[in-house]
């Protein structure tokens, strides 16, 4: 029962991490709850994830929002607003 969480670009560098597995529990049922958990780590986590303007979330490679539910095996990606093209 785990999520695979990926970090890209500025977030990857700020958090010093490209990927981690996070064990699921009843308090991690939505994207909002996962973000709350990550911010709880303090330091760069709190800072980087402070404002919704600073990052985007995708669940299973599709853009997600705070209400998006999470389940075992989901791939959650956190990344800055995109700048391709």
């Amino acid at each position: 029962m785990a999520l695979s969480v990926l970090y890209f670009a500025r977030l990857r560098e700020a958090l010093g991490m490209a990927q981690e597995d996070i064990a699921l529990n009843p308090k991690l049922a939505t994207v909002a709850e996962l973000l709350e958990y990550l911010r709880g780590r303090g330091g760069p986590w709190q800072e980087t994830l402070a404002s919704a303007r600073l990052f985007r979330v995708a669940v299973n490679q599709e853009m997600a929002d705070p209400a998006t539910p999470l389940k075992d095996g989901d791939e959650v990606a956190l990344f800055p607003p995109v700048t391709g093209g």
């Binding site: 990926l6 890209f8 995109v82 700048t83 391709g84 093209g85």
Partner: protein, 152 residues
């Protein structure tokens, strides 16, 4: 409908020829080419690195192309986006849309670019005299994409 993510450069004439191949009914092609500028936000840029989220990029671009196919009558559409290390004047992206009608081709091409700029997981890092930094997303891109929810 073709979506390609690649490190290699592309040749415009060749890509348009492939898009048109065996379709003599095509009357109009609208295309957009994005290039690495040697200056951005007033700073000299010596190099650009394009990172992306491989599992999602193709999927996101295909979803955008599927959307334009539904909104407009098109013969075909092509999106090529480069990743990795690029230099000023290098080509970054090609979007080309073929249709019988030029209005549909222009609109679909601009729609793809607007949503690529806001939905496709690419990130640019610039090398400047002051060091390397990630490019900031622009509000104008979000506004450009938002236009399409008001009109067909």
């Amino acid at each position: 409908m073709t979506v390609r993510i690649q490190e290699a450069d592309f040749d415009l004439s060749q890509e348009i020829a492939n898009l048109r191949q065996a379709r003599p009914q095509i009357g109009a092609i609208a295309a957009f080419i994005g290039l690495v500028r040697d200056v951005n936000a007033g700073e000299a840029v010596s190099e650009l690195t394009l990172e992306h989220y491989p599992a999602m990029t193709q999927k996101a671009l295909e979803a955008i192309v599927a959307e334009v196919k539904q909104r407009w009558q098109l013969d075909d559409a092509l999106v090529i986006h480069r990743i990795g290390r690029l230099l000023p004047t290098d080509q970054i992206v090609l979007v080309a849309v073929a249709s019988s009608h030029r209005g549909a081709a222009f609109q679909a091409c601009e729609f793809i670019m607007d949503f690529l700029k806001t939905q496709a997981p690419f990130w640019k890092k610039e090398q400047t005299p002051a060091g390397a930094h990630w490019v900031e997303a622009r509000d104008s891109d979000a506004l450009s994409a938002a236009r399409w929810s008001d009109k067909k």
